[in-house]
Symmetry: C2
Subunit: 331 residues, 2 copies
């Protein structure tokens, strides 16, 4: 896992997912908004966990899932994020390295435990997330590996990280380092409510420090406080040179200046768990992008790998994605 000449470095919340299947009644009884991500404190996490059914622990984190998938496609990837010096931190470190990602951010030794995301999967395959950020948000500008960022074609930033001031500073510095070295910065909005909490700063970063923006419909509407999708799209074109809008089963739109490329969603037999679909989409797209493929080809690769992850429980790929792309003749 050399960290020289990387194609992609991801910066985000280093999280271990705790996945469990549940009914809609559990969400209602615990007043949890279906389909969203809610931040919870340590005591809330403990109380909710105590009520949850048996779980499965799998490494997660949005940008971490993306770089893991990128590495599975045989792309050269690195990761920057903060775990604690505990068992779940070791699990996270092992898993991301085991898939071939360079990851050297030192663990937090004196603070809260490694972040956990309690993921409740309902029978309709929707995932609802409750995140205890723990050690994640202790990431500081000093954790940034400047060489890694300077040597990477794209630095990919996870919007979720915007939820804490120190993390936000880290984010901005990463963007400056990457662009200072003439490299590209990609940003994913992550969550409409996170966007709502930090709209102005998001808009500033997009206008002044972002080359590629990933968002779903709800995030785009939230960002521009728009009521109509077409209005949000219009504003997006004016804010960022390349915007990719994911639309679940409707596929995705690539907004390249005034051009629009429509990408169909891959058909799947059965959707089991949508956790990680957006993360995988970004991985596939950026894989094509860093290989110099056409935007349509990037979109097709994105759809193929997103389709893989929604057919099983968990946000990281369970197939060899390089092989999958070859079989599907994508990229």
């Amino acid at each position: 896992m050399s960290k020289e000449n990387l194609d992609l470095v991801g910066i985000g919340n280093a999280i271990v997912d705790v996945l469990t299947k549940t009914g809609d009644d559990f969400l209602r009884a615990n007043k949890i908004n279906k389909g969203t991500m809610t931040l919870i404190e340590a005591d809330q996490a403990e109380a909710l966990y105590a009520k949850m059914g048996p779980g499965t622990e799998v490494s997660g984190g949005s940008a971490a899932n993306t770089v893991a998938a990128f590495a599975s496609m045989s792309g050269k990837a690195g990761y920057i994020g903060k775990v604690a010096n505990d068992q779940l931190g070791s699990v996270f470190r092992h898993d991301i390295r085991a898939i071939g990602v360079a990851f050297e951010t030192p663990a937090l030794t004196d603070g809260p435990p490694t972040a956990r995301c309690l993921i409740l999967i309902t029978p309709d395959a929707q995932r609802t997330m409750c995140t205890f950020l723990g050690a994640c948000v202790w990431i500081a500008p000093s954790d940034l590996d400047e060489e890694m960022i300077k040597n990477s074609k794209v630095t990919y930033l996870e919007g979720y990280l915007f939820d804490r001031p120190r993390a936000k500073l880290t984010f901005r510095k990463a963007s400056e380092i990457a662009r200072g070295a003439g490299k590209k910065v990609a940003l994913t909005l992550s969550d409409p409510f996170c966007v709502d909490r930090h709209r102005d700063e998001f808009l500033d970063l997009i206008k002044n420090g972002t080359d590629i923006l990933f968002a779903n419909e709800a995030e785009l509407l939230s960002l521009y406080k728009a009521d109509e999708f077409d209005d949000a799209v219009k504003q997006a074109r004016e804010t960022c040179p390349l915007v990719i809008v994911t639309r679940s089963a409707k596929g995705s739109l690539i907004l390249n200046g005034n051009d629009t490329i429509e990408v169909a969603a891959e058909s799947v037999k059965a959707v089991v768990d949508t956790t990680g679909a957006g993360d995988m989409y970004a991985a596939g797209f950026l894989y094509g992008y860093t290989k110099g493929k056409s935007l349509a080809e990037c979109g097709r690769a994105a759809s193929v790998v997103a389709a893989e992850v929604i057919q099983h429980v968990g946000a990281r790929p369970q197939l060899d994605l390089a092989k999958l792309l070859r079989e599907k003749k994508a990229v």
Copy 2:
């Protein structure tokens, strides 16, 4: 999770499984015997883990899997086993309680971490296990909840626990408490090599403290140092009043004194991972047994739940087993 009037209490190694898919070449390169369970020390566990691919953490432990499945069938179950006071210990405790099992054994506060079993799943769906026992083997006779055992119809002992002297003592005491209260003791042999290491003590416990014995063919051959299956069966009849021999796709044999009941295996679409098949079989059998069903019905319930677990990765049920038994009209 009341611990009064239980149907089943399991005593075993409290382990968190780390599951990963791998090729046969990985087993060869690391000199690991396919299909078996190998005990490894902390440093070996660390070295092997570092070489393994990304994993999934799920609560495991043979007897713990059995009581978890038993509870999923709506049986009243308890568990006794030792985890450490760490994150994986909390995961184990949460998962077994969340499925409805009474579990109150205090965590080890000053010793090795919670046990881990590195499970390597090859493309043929075989599982090969490397176990770091950690806190497990610190279980002591004082950890036994006498009321729980006295109040349970059956106490189920996991042969794996025989691998350490203190654990062995705990085992014997549990058998004495159960039988002293007029209750039944069931024993599973767990592993042919473990049986080989402790043959005389196993035979002594079976003859003098066991009512129901579970074994697969290899374990039975090992126990009696027999070359022929028929010879092992003959000796088994002489040693224990009720012996159940599991034979994978060939189904199972119930040896009830001089009678033999043949039980067919349930047919399955595709075998994905055989981890936990024996544990589930015992759960189904004992569920029927504690409900006073005929031995043939016990065997049928056993086959139905064993079939569920081999169709997905992981050793614990992913379906509501009570519902499955109703659908299959078993028990």
